[in-house]
Symmetry: C2
Subunit: 334 residues, 2 copies
């Protein structure tokens, strides 16, 4: 038996292409004492994956020759640990591969649910990132205006739906008329402006007649610069990511920083979902409530096959996806 | 009797020069009912004065033809209000002029103290800005490392001395070896690095072996960009001003924003001293305590004569001052 892996053949200098990856066959890994052999079921595809190739972030950098890193949901095939049994479903900081071994103590046992994909989307990294960033960093209140970029993306769609459930006016920013229409009609945002059109400032100002109180930023760059100019005094900016900056050799920051923060006393704060793990139970309970009562629609964008992971990530960086993108590697036997 | 005023003859496009100002004689103003006639004693010279010429900020923009705006300490010469009596000392949002009228309810009566200049420096706008920004926004703790830019300036010097009083390691950033030496030897900072020398990143890293927990930013631009790269996880950046950006037609933001905020979960927050007016009593009591026990040295840089106000502001933007700069317009009769 062999084990397919996708390695980073070469680190990108500019934009990421499929040539930066290579599919290879490796020997089947053998779990050591205390380890488990895992079969990958689903791999989360995130903009952050690309930022890992730019250097050390909140984790070590991904280097040329490494099997590409990911967050996965896997099934335990062999267990050399008392902690886990064959057939258990776990989440792991893992790699793009059919099979992988991990120390049992380093993976997290998951509940057996009807749809494993929900543990990556609404009840997983996407929903939890949206919840913690909006609630704990953005701190919105009913009646306030919340703007979110990458509104059709994995996190942005949940941010807007949560903000609507809280009674806010919600305006999305997305790329192209089709996505903008989907964000309003399917996800229920009050409005969505197309950043690819000219006049983002005017369009956003028209949709935010009372200014912006909370901006949930997934993109950085010039879109952040534009929203800064519309923030109300004491506004909050939850910095979740900067997808506009990852796939580039020359990142550029908004020109109006830090001036805009001083003039309007803004708070801009970065966060990572793992920082709020101690509040995950609260997040899941709230998300389950909103899904159950129809205030949150679960949006998933599933690409089939390990071999398509490079194209899935490249497409995500170009904004192809609607909802939480993931790759299905192995069948879900549940 | 005539009244000297300094008007903004022309708004600067690039750097501010004395040609942008003009001294003129105006008629003596007459206080209306409810107003007071004030004689200017001291005018605060602040980097923010220059930012007011770039457009509306937290106050209306200063326009060509306006008498230049300032924060002043004045003596009441004529009172048409029950609120104030002749001889009272007040603080006012005022202008560069010998005499001015204001509604009595718009000015603030001050205590009669030995040194009126202290009401602009350590117990005034400079000390209160340092206190509120460091304590309420930066939230430093003993043992943490605090970095402050414009360390020899009006606010920066107090920030560092307060942080030392709280038990922090304090590193300043200032321009030129003479100022850096003064910051360490006179103000008692642990170290001060010269941003005019090459290798700011390496020099700052060497002086902050445990990274930076709080950065009090007075300058923005490339110095902010450099400090961002050295911030510890969960670090706080108190955004007080961006003096590097005010005297320019083309402001530039740090290239590593918002990426650095996300990766290290930083909080960056703008503030203005007036936001914390409800806590001014606490600030003054703490500052008086530290001055009395020798932990804070009062630093003042007083320029004589209304006619020298333009040069005083231009010099401040170039970093000429050590300590809180102000212009003495009239004699202090107390």
């Amino acid at each position: 038996m062999t084990n397919r892996q996708v390695i980073v053949a070469e680190l990108p200098q500019g934009s990421l292409t499929t040539d930066h990856f290579a599919l290879q066959d490796a020997p089947m890994p053998e779990p050591a004492d205390g380890e488990v052999l895992l079969r990958t079921i689903l791999m989360s595809i995130d903009a952050a994956n690309r930022s890992w190739m730019q250097g050390a972030t909140y984790r070590d950098a991904v280097k040329a020759g490494d099997v590409m890193a990911t967050y996965s949901i896997c099934e335990v095939m062999v267990s050399n640990s008392d902690r886990l049994a064959v057939g258990d479903i776990v989440a792991a900081e893992s790699v793009w591969a059919d099979y992988v071994t991990h120390p049992a103590r380093k993976v997290q046992k998951l509940p057996k649910v009807d749809q494993l994909s929900n543990l990556i989307s609404v009840f997983g990294i996407a929903g939890k990132t949206a919840f913690h960033g909006l609630i704990s960093v953005g701190k919105p209140m009913a009646g306030e205006t919340v703007v979110v970029s990458a509104a059709a993306g994995s996190v942005g769609g949940y941010v807007g739906q949560i903000a609507k459930a809280l009674g806010c006016r919600v305006v999305g920013i997305a790329g192209g008329p089709e996505k903008c229409e989907w964000v309003v009609k399917h996800l229920g945002f009050d409005a969505c402006v197309d950043y690819r059109e000219k006049g983002l400032f005017k369009a956003l100002r028209a949709e935010c007649p009372n200014g912006i109180d909370v901006y949930f930023d997934n993109v950085g760059g010039t879109i952040l610069e534009t929203t800064l100019a519309l923030m109300n005094e004491k506004g909050r900016i939850a910095c979740c990511g900067a997808i506009s900056q990852y796939d580039s050799a020359n990142p550029t920051g908004p020109r109006n920083l830090p001036g805009a923060l001083v003039v309007r006393r803004l708070r801009m704060e970065g966060f990572i979902v793992m920082d709020f793990a101690h509040e995950d139970d609260k997040a899941i309970r709230a998300l389950q409530t909103w899904v159950a009562n129809g205030q949150i629609k679960v949006t998933e964008d599933i690409v089939e096959g390990l071999e398509n992971a490079p194209a899935a990530l490249i497409g995500l960086l170009a904004g192809d996806n609607k909802g939480k993108r993931m790759v299905r590697v192995g069948p879900d036997n549940l």
